[in-house]
Symmetry: C2
Subunit: 274 residues, 2 copies
């Protein structure tokens, strides 16, 4: 499934959001049903790899999800991580900051949630909100945005140097797809609670958000903390892409179950002699 690597944004940037087709499915042409089979297999692989990560207790994995409203962050997290032992995976959701959080620098609340050894932590939104919505709304100017890109690069480099593997996914949907999804939230009774009128105001800022995403992704994709821009109009393609990249990354960590250094034979005898 190495094909999905093409969605990786190189450290030197050059990503053009307008050129990424949200309907693209060029890395898997066998259709939705075959994709679901593949997803089930990848999920089982992920569960096994996560168990080894946990058992080994050496490495840490941080997975960041960002997207525009209705972009599918919740759905992806669910589809990718259900089936994994909930003991080894933590999801941290970053909403509008609380007064206590606002009383600190913007990296404070995310730093508190990064993974410990053996853990996978999933960020549903993240410190990137502080160069996205904050910038689009004009709460910080161009200079501060640039400074924050540098701070974020420095922060993530430190995490990586200290042993955290980082994957960042931007889920890309089209403006038409967002309209469909907002209409669904209006029309399907069980989804209505998710509808927030403010989403329509945000939608007016579509172009600004696209620019902010493009800029942030180009400025902060690093070898050790890459961004992947995933075509996400089709849920199954999006899930397959994220799962594939995740599984490949975990395989690349070359983990192993910890070895017992002690000779266990005497313990067996003690038990059998009881």
């Amino acid at each position: 499934m190495a094909g999905f690597e093409k969605y990786r944004i190189p450290p030197e940037g050059g990503f053009k959001i307008a050129k990424l087709d949200a309907d693209d499915r060029s890395c898997f042409k066998d259709g939705k049903e075959k994709a679901q089979e593949r997803i089930l297999k990848l999920r089982a692989e992920l569960a096994g790899l996560q168990e080894m990560l946990y058992a080994e207790g050496k490495q840490r994995l941080l997975v960041v999800f960002q997207a525009i409203d209705t972009g599918g962050k919740d759905g992806t997290i669910r589809a990718v991580f259900e089936g994994v032992n909930p003991q080894g995976v933590k999801v941290a959701s970053f909403k509008a900051p609380t007064p206590l959080e606002l009383a600190h620098d913007y990296l404070w609340r995310v730093h508190a949630c990064v993974p410990a050894r053996g853990e996978i932590v999933v960020f549903n939104r993240s410190h990137y909100e502080d160069v996205l919505i904050v910038r689009v709304k004009g709460w910080i100017d161009a200079d501060e945005t640039k400074r924050r890109y540098r701070q974020i690069r420095d922060f993530e480099r430190m995490l990586a140097e200290e042993g955290t593997t980082i994957l960042k996914f931007y889920l890309h949907i089209s403006k038409d797809e967002q309209k469909e999804r907002l209409l669904e939230r209006i029309d399907i009774p069980e989804k209505q609670w998710k509808f927030n009128p403010a989403d329509l105001e945000e939608r007016k800022l579509w172009d600004d958000y696209q620019r902010a995403f493009e800029d942030a992704l180009n400025e902060t994709s690093a070898h050790t903390a890459p961004w992947y821009a995933i075509p996400a109009n089709r849920n199954w393609y999006r899930n397959l892409a994220v799962l594939s990249i995740l599984v490949d990354t975990l395989k690349g960590l070359k983990m192993s179950y910890p070895k017992q250094t002690e000779d266990l034979a005497p313990y067996r005898q003690r038990l059998l002699a009881e």
Copy 2:
């Protein structure tokens, strides 16, 4: 599945651990295969109920697991909660306390982890370690143990009064079953990393642990924070029992999806008119 309610320890106590058969399967006599089918159904139900809990965002659920070493806490958590949206379920594992934790009262670290509205939090071990291992090892005396029972009752009553539903599961295995499980950890290569020689020392204190469990369960089972003592020699029976009680409890919360109070028709028109 109301039968499993019989494992609930009444607030007035009277639970005799020696009388609980760890091999009991009197609440489900159709055997393992039928049980697995039932477990799949209950898991799907649990996933739906958890989603509603999260959507409603009003209630909180705390689920505590305690057991002797090899009792099956990890396996139960995995079997019961895999398949549930990881975003709404957090597992807190309490190991030997850190210096920072020891510098506080014993409830400090657990209080920090109790569920927020809409959340399920699972405790893998808990503040009960502080009346179990701590007592068995003689680190606190009978008076202090009694004082802690009261403190724990008060703490959990406060949580319940403030809106947290609490379920506590003691997973009961027999001494022979523990021997089998320890031998497995010695004999199966992929399980060897789990083997800890100290477990054999703990095993010598089996009777003391049984007494400590019996006492703690009788002293701290309350209407609003009941203990269930689950026969756990058979994994499938244990998983079925925990899932059944959990699902019944969530159903009893009478949750509903939040209603939209606003008329959404104008928003639909705005979107369609774009």
